[in-house]
């Protein structure tokens, strides 16, 4: 407040010195002030009401949002691999590998062909026998059967899409969702899609294909369906083997956004050869070569690692 204004206000309050200001005027001003105060109060109330409404609305939407964005993932949901070793008839595909991927991380696993990337995923999900240890949420994954591993919240996709071709998209998703069903419920009709499934279909752009046979989907959509199946099955560790191979740039973009979003509350590992895709979406990168870790770090670090450039990125840079 300036001095002038201060004086004016003071003189106005005194009333006497300046005859121009009549008593009525003062009364009027006072009334205006009261009115203004009321208005302000009303606005404050409105705001509070709106806030409450918003909160209510958010509560209402929470179920849906929760499906994707808040599944109660915790910092402790991380993957820890120690001394993982895979051998095929004497050929060492993965050599005493240590790798930790934290909750909320979107980790890219890159490396030359035959480096052992797919093999790592195979080992974690029980497809090939391995020694060492791989724990997720404190549970040992090695030595378990694939279907038990899934129940621990681990999901994977394959380099080639493998969906149940003779079932519709919706049915595929319901199967993915349904593995926790009680035996009794297995004999119920599959019924209408659950909220979860509907939401995921929406997220994965599959809503309009819901009743198409999965076998008739184009390649890219099959991949999306695969990802969708992981999401509805509520996997917290997502292992994706070249999920965008064969997709158009636009589809890649969409897939990337989707995965980025998923990774907020999950642990995601993506094996990819598409460097643009990696640059765009990776939180962190692990470079594998001949079964061993060559480098690990941010995208920047990796791109400036001479060794990585020499062995893998090559002329692209």
């Amino acid at each position: 407040m300036s001095d002038e204004a201060k004086n004016a206000a003071v003189s106005a309050a005194k009333g006497g010195d300046e005859p121009k200001v009549s008593a009525e005027e003062i009364a009027q001003l006072r009334a205006e002030m009261v009115q203004m105060r009321d208005e302000a109060k009303k606005m404050r109330d409105d705001a509070a009401a709106m806030k409450a409404e918003i909160a209510e609305e958010r509560d209402r939407l929470k179920d849906q949002l929760a499906a994707l964005d808040d599944r109660g993932g915790k910092w402790s949901d991380y993957l820890e691999i120690r001394g993982l070793h895979v051998e095929f008839d004497g050929f060492v595909a993965v050599k005493n590998l240590d790798l930790t991927v934290m909750h909320g991380d979107l980790r890219f696993l890159i490396g030359p062909n035959g480096a052992g990337k797919t093999t790592i995923i195979d080992a974690i999900t029980g497809l090939v026998p391995a020694t060492g240890s791989a724990t997720f949420r404190g549970e040992q994954l090695l030595g378990r059967k694939p279907n038990e591993i899934v129940k621990l919240g681990v999901g994977r996709t394959f380099q080639t899409a493998s969906v149940v071709e003779e079932l519709s998209v919706l049915e595929n998703l319901q199967i993915a969702e349904g593995f926790r069903r009680k035996t009794r419920d297995l004999f119920r009709k599959p019924g209408a899609p659950s909220q979860n499934v509907e939401y995921m279909m929406d997220v994965c752009n599959l809503t309009e294909d819901a009743h198409k046979m999965a076998g008739t989907l184009p390649h890219g959509k099959k991949q999306w369906l695969e990802i969708g199946m992981l999401l509805v099955q509520d996997a917290h560790l997502l292992l994706l083997d070249e999920p965008v191979a064969g997709m158009t740039p636009a589809e890649r973009e969409a897939t990337g956004q989707l995965l980025k979003r998923c990774s907020k509350n999950r642990t995601v590992i993506i094996v990819e050869h598409d460097m643009d895709f990696m640059r765009q979406f990776a939180d962190s990168v692990t470079v594998l070569n001949q079964g061993e870790i060559l480098a690990e770090g941010s995208v920047e670090d990796i791109q400036h690692n001479d060794e990585v450039v020499r062995i893998y990125l090559g002329g692209e840079q």
Binding site: T118, F158, T160, S162
Partner: protein, 294 residues
């Protein structure tokens, strides 16, 4: 125990019979995925060839030699016909071939009955093969020795063809990925026909050889077919090595189990051994690993 050596020989002999019956199957099943239920009837065709040859050729030895060749060709041609007429259009659904060929086997059996009558016939074997041979003071059937040698020869020949010749590579390539073979310049149609001809031809040879031990009638082949399939399964599909080991192991098991028990227990035991064995090696003895999901 005095029976030790004879029982080993009996087991090996049983094994060689199983092998001979299973060899062609292992080829057609392994490479083409065709589950040929009519394989036994191709053996029957071979056996009847032996019978016809023995009744039109004076010398029994010559008749047998001729029958081996003609039996191969006759059964092979039957197989070729089957492949050209029916199986060719069923490449994409191998499991269905099992039922189609079952139908074929019914028809062939009835045909045999109508042509040769329902009374069993008998192909006169060369004198030398009906008499015993003596090894280490024990006498054994010369016919069985002959079959044993024949089985080994057939395996060796088939192995050589598959592994060492361009044809063999083509057969294997086609067996694995038809489209890819085709775009590699291989005429898969021809290769399939050759494969099926070979497999069926071997059944014919087996039939000729086994006619030395049995009478020949329309149900000649049914005796062997179930066990032959088991050998293929236990050995690992498409695996010659597996088929060889499996047939000898099963042959020996059967003769040893039969010794203290009875023939029927011996047969049942063989079935159970295979089921149990598949518990340990579901893909058979010699399994092929591949990284595909399927």
């Amino acid at each position: 125990m005095g029976m030790f050596f004879p029982q080993i020989v009996a087991g090996l002999s049983n094994g060689s019979i199983l092998l001979l019956a299973a060899l062609g199957l292992s080829l057609t099943f392994g490479q083409m995925g065709v589950i040929n239920n009519a394989h036994g009837e191709f053996m029957m065709a071979g056996a009847y060839t032996a019978y016809v040859m023995s009744s039109i050729i004076g010398s029994r030895t010559v008749a047998l030699a001729v029958a081996l060749v003609v039996g191969f060709v006759v059964a092979g041609l039957l197989g070729l016909l089957l492949d050209v007429l029916l199986l060719e259009r069923m490449r994409t659904r191998p499991l269905d071939t099992l039922l189609v060929t079952f139908g074929v086997s019914l028809v062939l059996q009835q045909l045999a009955r109508d042509i040769f009558g329902s009374t069993p016939v008998y192909a006169a074997a060369p004198e030398a093969l009906t008499n015993p041979v003596t090894i280490f003071g024990y006498s054994f059937s010369a016919a069985r020795l002959f079959i044993f040698i024949l089985a080994i020869v057939c395996v060796a020949a088939l192995y050589a063809v598959l592994k060492l010749t361009p044809l063999g590579r083509q057969i294997r390539a086609t067996g694995e990925n038809r489209d890819l073979a085709e775009v590699s310049g291989i005429s898969t149609k021809k290769v399939d026909h050759v494969t099926f001809f070979l497999g069926s031809g071997i059944a014919g040879v087996a039939g000729v050889a086994l006619s030395l031990l049995n009478s020949i009638s329309f149900n000649f082949g049914t005796t062997f077919i179930v066990q032959a399939f088991l050998v293929v399964v236990a050995g690992g599909v498409g695996q010659l090595k597996g088929a060889v080991i499996a047939s000898f192991v099963l042959g020996l098991c059967q003769s040893w189990i039969e010794l203290p028990t009875s023939a029927s227990i011996g047969q049942v035991a063989v079935f159970l051994i295979v089921v149990l064995f598949l518990q340990f090696r579901p893909q058979g003895l010699v399994a092929v690993r591949s990284r595909n999901l399927a």
